[in-house]
């Protein structure tokens, strides 16, 4: 099969180590395709991320702009101009155009590219919904959100394929007036990259460790429910005192979480630790008894949501670590679906429920083994992504693109099983 050549506009990408940077990189690294990629230069690159064995070939261009202030007109214009300049440089047309949010200006840049070359098939990948993102209502200031919403609507209208990472996100984004574009939607989940993890088996600490890794927010997605649950468990069952710890690795920790931690009766059971480099964080995951994911909990009355539309990238990184995973999440949504299907326990935000889940793990009454997560391995998701990009490049309809992705998944899984046996 020929090596296709695609153009990628993605504000975030490796070697930076944010969730959105790694999301797209992990999806593409195993595809045997060539990419001309434009991204934003930022602080905190980790060259080791790009050092894994890859089938993809990336030619990256980094745009210098004020990356710390992405939500300004000027920064966006810098990025879009940089993308267009690179896009124009190509002597022959690309086989496909791929844009990735976050940030949304990646799609705005792709809209401009489309004006230049309407014949190049365009795949737009949304890491999160934009217009219906429930977090926005909780932000005191969120400049250019109206513009982002307009970009999202224009992208859904003009892109040939719209890629989502979970069906709940798809259903939310393509509801209301935008439902008419639902035929373009294709779902390919996040993935973990096995090559990122230390190959030597990790030793577990003597003290039972629950670990949360990653960023928390000032609202909704906070440490508070878990902190309250620790106190609750120890209040009801003092016999668990000094038998476990809850470790947060991330930060900076917001004032609300710090205050809750300071007011805990059993604060000595919780550690708030600073962020660590991405690859080191994966090794740290392997040294926890149970990994904890925390989602924002939204409700129908306030936010019009009956399910979470967010599939946390950290969840798949957890899968690669091979440890049991629990989550504080909504009753329905990708996290609940994935973890329940694998036999792991999930909780909503009630401290009593979370305390119960902690207790079950401490008692050895929750699954301790590692489910078969190969469906979320980059080997499988990479094959799906390749199928999506190839199908889109030959201008297949959305349903056919999804079918190609599903078929590629089945083949990749079968191949993995064969090689394992």
């Amino acid at each position: 099969m020929s090596r296709l050549r695609g153009f990628v506009a993605s504000w975030f990408f490796a070697p930076y180590r944010g969730s959105a940077d790694l999301d797209l990189f992990k999806r593409l690294a195993r595809t045997p395709l060539d990419y001309e990629l434009v991204q934003v230069r930022r602080a905190g690159a980790d060259p080791q991320i790009l050092a894994i064995p890859m089938e993809a070939r990336f030619s990256r261009t980094e745009i210098s702009t004020d990356h710390a202030q992405p939500r300004t007109r000027r920064t966006r214009d810098d990025f879009i101009a940089g993308v267009l300049a690179k896009f124009r440089e190509a002597p022959t047309p690309y086989d496909f155009l791929l844009s990735h949010s976050n940030e949304v200006p990646s799609h705005a840049a792709a809209l401009e590219c489309r004006k230049l070359r309407p014949d190049v098939p365009w795949i737009a990948y949304f890491g999160d919904p934009v217009l219906k993102n429930p977090y926005v209502a909780h932000m005191a200031e969120y400049p250019l959100h109206a513009e982002d919403c307009a970009t999202e609507a224009a992208t859904l209208e003009q892109a040939d394929v719209v890629l989502c990472n979970n069906p709940w996100q798809r259903d939310l984004m393509f509801s209301g007036p935008l439902a008419k574009h639902a035929h373009k939607a294709v779902v390919v989940p996040h993935c973990f990259e096995p090559a990122f993890y230390p190959s030597a088996p990790a030793e577990l600490p003597g003290l039972f460790r629950f670990l949360h890794l990653g960023t928390l927010y000032s609202v909704k997605r906070t440490a508070r429910p878990l902190l309250l649950a620790v106190d609750r468990l120890l209040e009801l069952y003092p016999r668990y005192a000094n038998r476990f710890e809850v470790v947060f690795r991330g930060g900076p920790y917001h004032a609300g979480d710090r205050e809750t931690w300071a007011s805990m009766r059993h604060a000595d059971h919780v550690r708030l630790e600073p962020e660590v480099p991405f690859l080191e964080s994966l090794a740290i995951m392997q040294r926890a008894h149970v990994l904890v994911s925390i989602d924002g909990i939204f409700d129908e009355a306030e936010h019009g949501l009956t399910a979470s539309p967010f599939f946390p990238g950290k969840l798949v990184d957890y899968m690669g670590a091979g440890r049991p995973i629990t989550a504080i999440t909504m009753e329905r949504g990708p996290t609940a679906d994935v973890l329940r299907a694998s036999g792991n326990l999930v909780a909503d935000e009630r401290p009593d429920r979370i305390a119960f889940v902690l207790k079950r793990y401490l008692d050895g009454k929750a699954p301790t083994g590692t489910p078969d997560w190969s469906r979320y391995s980059s080997r499988v998701v990479g094959a799906e992504m390749e199928a999506v990009l190839r199908a889109a490049a030959r201008r297949a309809a959305g349903v056919e693109v999804q079918a190609a992705a599903d078929e590629a998944r089945q083949r990749a899984l079968a191949s993995l099983i064969r090689s394992a046996s």
Binding site: L236, Y237, P351, D352, A355, F356, K359
Partner: protein, 365 residues
Amino acid sequence: MTKAPLVSVIVPVFNLELYVERCLESLAAQTLRELEILVVDDGSTDASPEVLQELAAKDDRVEILRQPNGGHGAAANRGIEKARAPFVMFVDGDDFIEPHVTSELVAEAQRTEADLVMGNLRYRLPGGRTDTFRPVPGVSRVLSDDDRRALFGVSATPCARLYARRLFVEGGVRFPTGVLFADVSFSPKTYLAARRIAYLDRELYEYDLTRPSQSMKQTNRRLLDVVASLDDLLDDCAARGWFQPWRTELQRYTLKHVIDWLPKIRGLPAEAHVEALRTLFGVLERHFGGAWVGAPLREAAGRRRGLLIEQARRLGYAPLAWSWALEGLATEADDVVERAVGAPLAGYRRVKAALKRRLLSRLVL
């Protein structure tokens, strides 16, 4: 089970996955071993059934009874039907008891030949604090007739009590079903059915008030289930011939609950106030006519509040709702005035802070 049980402990459970282990561990740790532990799972939708199964596997005195969700009263009644021991006790699945409790209660019942033995509740409050609820003032004793009458003046609870099963078999005492606040009906029936009541001035029950769902939302209209529970009590008393001999006590008991419920009714949406007040006071009107107005009302509510209620009764209780609305308006007006008065002060403080920052901090060491 090695010996015939002396006590059937009935444990109603509904969605108590985190708590029920603490409860059953406390029962397993009782120094009195001759127990029959009847756990009634009232249609739990959480992991309670799984946890109960695990706990039952560890102790053959534990029997799990499952039923579709019917409420606390229905669950307790199911346990009563199943109980076989001469004594019965209720321990809610989110509460627990200390190891000596069943032994002490049985000893007291045998010593006094009482068919109802009552103890104190230890309230477990947030932050590790505790408080004690004493249903009877004074020292441990077999209750006199006056003591028994006094029981109708205090809040009712079926907990921290040991019942002779006779009260349920011969007396036919049961909880009302399908309503919240079933205890309100149940406890007075046991006072009337019991031949002898003994009181132990000791904390015999750990009542957990820290569980979030313990505090019912004041906006929940099921608050008015108390009316159905009181109706059940008063109708049952009438059917058994207890109403006339105990009319004064039953009226006092009903009045107490109606007055206690007024602040809860106030928490309902304003548009529901008048209807809710009529429903609440309706229980008094139905069973006692106008006999509760006057001295009994003033004794229960206090002189001033009693007079207000008397006046409001003439207009279908609407004036009570109006008075709440008036107070709400007064509070809002007060807020407006306070903000207006406070604005110049806040402005002065801002200017003062700015001057301090820009001038004083540079001049003063």
